[in-house]
Symmetry: C2
Subunit: 551 residues, 2 copies
């Protein structure tokens, strides 16, 4: 049997565009002799469509799209598996996250998703009802069962807190399909990238194959949709758990191959490389899918804006990236010079606007209200906000999207100015902790073969340069310690006591958790950021703003 | 039987503070001879705790709080019903939204919530498992069943799209409890205020009582929690469907009374009055619960900022409200004078900062980049953002929370400037359509007995005053039409064709829906707003930013 993995990058709700792409891939795969062509989860509509699903027209359009695809398949030999939304608006009206199997113009088989994730960025219970029936279909003598994303994660899992129906009973779709005689399990997914998950995914499916004597074809969506980046990286394992085919990471791909035939491939993963690619794809698609060609960003002379500039240049080309350095009276001359050196290395445009005159004018105009009150954080924020207004002005005038450059450590502790450096359409590295920013910067320089990011930018002590001699580490714990605490609190959800027990100083932990909790209001108004860790700030973390919480 | 309704205003996650409040109410109610004291849904922790529930410490603290409450009840005669989170961290680990019945120090009965809402602002499937067992308990010879919020809405409902378990079967907890012999149904709720819901709620419970021959005691949470305002308005109906007791709207209350005894009360509702009270309570609690005493806002001379100022003065006292008028070169003299007249009527402080000098300085500094490009919306936004920076500066320097003043019609169409007039900790009227803003203003003046909001502010044509002669209606459809389309699209989720079929001009509908869809990114970064309609922008409406959607 000849199989085609059609790893496509859909646009959310673009029913016509996605259909055209699906038909193009079918055409190509059929031309290559594919017996079975497999598309990702919700391929007709893109994942995640979120509350757009409440509009019945969109759901009906998706079903019409499926009909058109079936119609196209009337005269071809290939069988097609495509993710879509099934629905029944009769009594009762339920939506299903579903897979259709199309052959000779007919939908010959359907399988609904069983396990509906409702954690982190997922809200599938909000929209879908779970499968209550399971089956297999046969092609070229092979019995095939279909699972959808989360469904396959239950197999062999020792985690007792997931994969339950609402009454607490374990559900394992793979086991059900195996019992029904499946030889091959297809998994169609829209599985967002997070650091380390790709390795876990491959190991898991290799184990399932081996232990249950099943071959598995895993077809993942690719592309950036808002804060989520789907990494593609579709692959196949045979019944011995050997990885024998692997599609591209972070790009569309069509892979046509003989089922279960091929030598074992290397399955090693380079996390830093993956994160860089995730950021590039996330930025490229966020801009491209919303029609933006050009980006603008502030270059402070620090490592965060430097890394953001590198990612932007790689994503949309340096000719489309415009950096502005906006020195204050407290800025070192290095801040400007280092930014120019960076821009030269990247071959991107850079201009300078000094903010001293505007700062003085704001202080004059506020004098009537402020009187002789001493300067404080207010004046620091004014400078950050002047920069925000200047950058947004360039964005408005030139049609370039403003990129925000804050990292996760800053966003976590509120070491950033709302409506100042937080301005932007996309916060490119807001889920990248500072310590990881350094690692990525070193890798970028290593890959470039020279200090693409000037050494001075990497080595200077981090500073907002909003008052004389200011350094980040005057206000924050050392970044190695800070990032460790943030990971234990945000990603692992430990309590203060548990973090102290893990070896951190109580006072530092208490201070950090206080900063994190009191700055929820800033993050509520933050730009979307590209998720690369298991828990990013944003839509997957919903914390009350007003609370009295003792962590 | 003597019953006490303990309509409390908890603070989210404030386990100690909420416990103290619960014990205070038990003390008072017992002093008044109550046999049965009833608290709202999740009284120990406040509703909605959202993802804080992922921290196991908080859930454990809530259970310890329940133990302390039980311990306190050891030596009193009253039986206490209290909403809390029940959990079992053994295998499998499930959380339940639950009610405990406490008598003589023991938890003598528990009832879990059956129907877990997962629409709009609700995400209960994300956290909780549903009840699978139901029972009644007996007190003073009366058989009592407990329902929790959504549970009671299934009774008699003809809506086939709600009240289903995940397999699509109808569940009706009231019917189950009636079949188990219940004479009295208690409903503990955390039911957020929206326009018109109070009347529906009362009519529904009166019908259930009458048709099923049950008496009902409905106990609702009160208070503002972020964008949600819980209106209280707890009440009781006897088996004949007569409303015979009614607790305060929009305030804490303890109501002690003889079960099923009392004359029928008037059940009329004044929607405008309710909305005003919801906005006042929402603002007061958002500020008070997060420790803010003072507010600052920009006064433009328009009706939106005027209404926001009135609400603020009523919520926290005029001595704590500071208005700033920031005329541009395009502002009419009326804008400033009218704002001063309003401030005088309200007895609140007002100051003026003209923005012309800053505007000129920004234009000078941007000249090097902008060259001779003509002025456009960029320069309008610069002025709005100068105001944002000035207001945030006053907020930072004085510790006053900045209030954003945009209405729902503006926020829907993006007729507002991100990081400009959208700046603020709370968007007080962002769920109030412009046509409703006028109605509320007229009511406020009628209640005041004079033009508290000066007539000139109500009668002038709405304008952002960011370019010469600018009027809202140059860019937007007339507000009566615009608000009609917004309601059909956002609240009723109709398609373009359906809205046209409802009698609106196609071109206007298409233009309005395009504006709504293209401005999702602005709303993503908006301050939380107080929800008063069935569908507010914010946490209850989750729309992808990047999409290609044909409504």
């Amino acid at each position: 049997m000849k199989v085609a993995i059609a790893q496509i990058n859909p646009i959310i709700a673009d029913i016509e565009g996605n259909k055209k792409k699906i038909l193009d891939y079918i055409k190509k795969a059929e031309g290559n002799g594919a017996d079975l062509i497999i598309f990702p989860e919700l391929a007709t509509i893109g994942y995640p469509p979120m509350d757009l699903l409440e509009n019945t027209k969109l759901v009906r359009d998706n079903l019409n799209s499926l009909k058109d695809i079936a119609q196209y398949c009337k005269d071809i030999n290939s069988t097609v598996v495509v993710g879509y939304i099934d629905f029944d608006y009769d009594n009762p009206p339920m939506l299903y996250n579903s897979a259709a199997v199309i052959s000779r113009g007919e939908i010959i088989f359907r399988q609904n998703k069983t396990l509906l994730p409702g954690y982190d960025v997922f809200d599938e219970y909000r929209y879908f009802s779970p499968a209550t029936e399971w089956g297999v279909f046969e092609l070229k003598g092979i019995k095939i069962g279909i699972t959808i994303c989360e469904d396959i994660w239950a197999a062999l899992s020792k985690d007792n807190s997931r994969f339950l129906d609402l009454r607490g009973y374990r559900l394992d779709p793979v086991k059900i399909l195996k019992d029904k005689g499946a030889d091959l399990i297809i998994n169609i997914s829209a599985s967002p990238y997070i650091k380390g998950k790709r390795q876990i995914r491959m190991e898991m499916l290799r184990n399932i194959s081996r232990e249950l004597n099943l071959s598995i074809i895993y077809v993942n969506q690719v592309g950036g949709n808002d804060s989520l980046v789907f990494d593609g990286n579709s692959f196949c394992v045979n019944q011995k758990g050997e990885l024998y085919r692997h599609a591209k990471g972070f790009g569309e791909d069509l892979l046509v191959f003989d089922h279960n035939i091929g030598n074992e491939l290397n399955s090693e993963v380079d996390d830093i490389d993956d994160i860089i690619n995730a950021l590039i794809l996330g930025l490229r698609d966020y801009m491209g899918k919303s029609g933006f060609k050009k980006a603008v960003l502030g270059l402070s002379g620090g490592i965060d804006s430097a890394l953001t500039a590198v990612i932007a240049c790689k994503a949309i080309g340096p000719e489309n990236v415009f950096g502005i350095t906006m020195p204050s009276v407290y800025s070192s001359s290095g801040s400007v010079n280092d930014s120019y050196a960076l821009a030269k290395n990247l071959a991107m445009r850079i201009e300078t606007i000094a903010i001293a005159d505007l700062f003085e004018q704001f202080k004059r105009d506020l004098k009537a209200i402020f009187g002789d009150l001493p300067e404080d954080v207010t004046e620091e924020n004014i400078q950050a906000r002047i920069r925000g207004v200047l950058l947004m002005s360039v964005s408005n005038k030139t049609g370039a999207m403003l990129l925000s450059t804050g990292n996760k450590s800053e966003v976590a502790t509120g070491y950033c100015t709302l409506y100042g450096d937080m301005c932007g359409g996309l916060a490119v590295i807001s889920d990248v902790p500072k310590t990881l920013v350094y690692k990525i910067a070193e890798r970028i320089n290593k890959d470039a073969g020279f200090d693409l990011i000037p050494r001075a930018i990497i080595e200077k002590a981090p500073s907002a340069e909003l008052r004389p001699g200011q350094k980040d580490q005057d206000s924050l714990p050392p970044y190695e310690i800070l990032d460790g605490i943030i990971e234990l609190y945000i990603e692992q959800k430990l309590s203060l006591e548990e973090i102290v027990a893990a070896g951190y100083e109580r006072e530092t932990v208490a201070y950090t958790l206080r900063l994190i909790n009191m700055n929820e209001y800033k993050r509520f108004q933050a730009a979307p950021g590209i998720k690369v860790t298991s828990k990013a700030f944003g839509i997957g973390r919903r914390i009350p703003l007003v609370k009295r919480y003792n962590p």
